[in-house]
Symmetry: C2
Subunit: 244 residues, 2 copies
């Protein structure tokens, strides 16, 4: 297994244009907060999450599908949306049995960079171990941990999550890491004793704190709290399955 | 001091188009091997190094200036060039008193991304400490450690060098690190006991080893071996000055 990390979506130039690649598994990572929201919603019984990059398209898809509409711009809820991008707000009473259309500043756009991958998973700290287990069992030729980043820059919350996954894959799956994968592992290892500290210091974390959303950071920092694998289906909808 | 790291030249989108920024100091880093060659050549008494991105332009500039011509493509010397990109070959008997026009696959192109910076330095492991000292003394508003990378991807040799510099600046200059700067520091800290091991494992290092150029890797891994600051002058030529 070749183990690569894209530190931002701009650093996956060959994916968008290449031929379909059945041997490639991509994990989209937007720990603060899109993929943490996806995992939380699916764990709360949501039927699925359809990521849509643009706000207008998200509105029309949600209306068409009778879905809930969630997401943010600049970390804030959008007018007329049912939900923002706060993971704990996607609770059972709100989302159970529902399809949810989501659009976010960085995360849903990152999903758009995965078009040619054989499999696309959603990863965050909440489901790091089960996602690494899933990839180890599937043993694809190539794994790309795709960090959503923040406005085109590297986001420490995403990269540390990639490092958490990459470290597990290196131990379990005899993976061959790229320079970027080694970088992610080093960031995770440096901060694994204080991941909440890293998230609080990150640009995304500081933005959330400035909006009074510290509880979201703490929620997303709970490593392996949700044993659920999330994967895009053929319709481009993230579906969850719990692992024993 | 805001302390940022561009993990590849593609991640400095605002530099090329923005207005001149006197408060910005950029350190271009291409440890294997362009900036190590620049430092070695200047330490050996070269008058200056003029980086030129394209091969044809490099040939005509060298002819025009009566300069030596050095560089590589795909790590190999170019036909008709006086020198390749191997730092130890830029010795006193070859380069003393000479201007050298250089073109390389990644490093000289990275220099092109610095157009709007107030100051542009060349950094590598060889001159890490003096470069950090220089920046600490100058105390610019913003420091950008610009990693040349390798074919658009993150290069561990460059990023670890950025981390070496960034760690010193954090200690000495009360710098405020971005997420990318924290990432570089983590990579350096993880490998500081075995930087040669990291360089050997890096994509650039493996390429050099495959060409029998292991001695170049060992040469470039010698942290703080050359107490020389290199800076672009108004004509776009790197000039050196030795620090006591």
């Amino acid at each position: 297994m070749l183990l690569d990390v894209a530190l931002t979506p701009a650093l996956v130039p060959d994916l968008a244009s290449g031929p379909p690649d059945d041997g490639l598994a991509v994990v989209v990572i937007d720990t603060l907060r899109f993929t943490s929201t996806v995992i939380s919603a699916l764990a709360a019984g949501a039927d699925g999450i359809l990521p849509v990059a643009e706000e207008d398209a998200a509105r029309s898809r949600a209306a068409e599908l009778g879905a809930l509409l969630g997401g943010e711009r600049d970390a804030l809820p959008l007018p007329g949306f049912d939900l923002g991008n706060s993971p704990p707000s996607y609770d059972q009473s709100t989302v159970a049995g529902r399809l949810i259309v989501m659009t976010t500043t960085n995360g849903t756009r990152a999903v758009g960079a995965t078009a040619e991958a054989g499999r696309v998973l959603a990863g965050c700290l909440l489901n790091a171990e089960v996602t690494a287990d899933e990839l180890t069992a599937a043993d694809p030729e190539r794994v790309l941990l795709l960090c959503a980043g923040r406005r085109g820059a590297v986001a420490a919350d995403d990269l540390a999550t990639a490092g958490c996954l990459a470290g597990s894959l290196l131990l379990m799956a005899a993976a061959e890491p790229t320079d970027a994968a080694r970088t992610a592992i080093a960031l995770f290892d440096a901060w694994k004793g204080d991941l909440l500290g890293l998230l609080n210091r990150s640009a995304s974390g500081r933005k959330l704190a400035s909006l009074g959303l510290v509880a979201d950071i703490e929620f997303c920092a709970r490593v392996d709290a949700v044993p659920l694998v999330a994967e895009l289906d053929d319709a481009g909808i993230f579906r969850g399955r719990s692992e024993p």
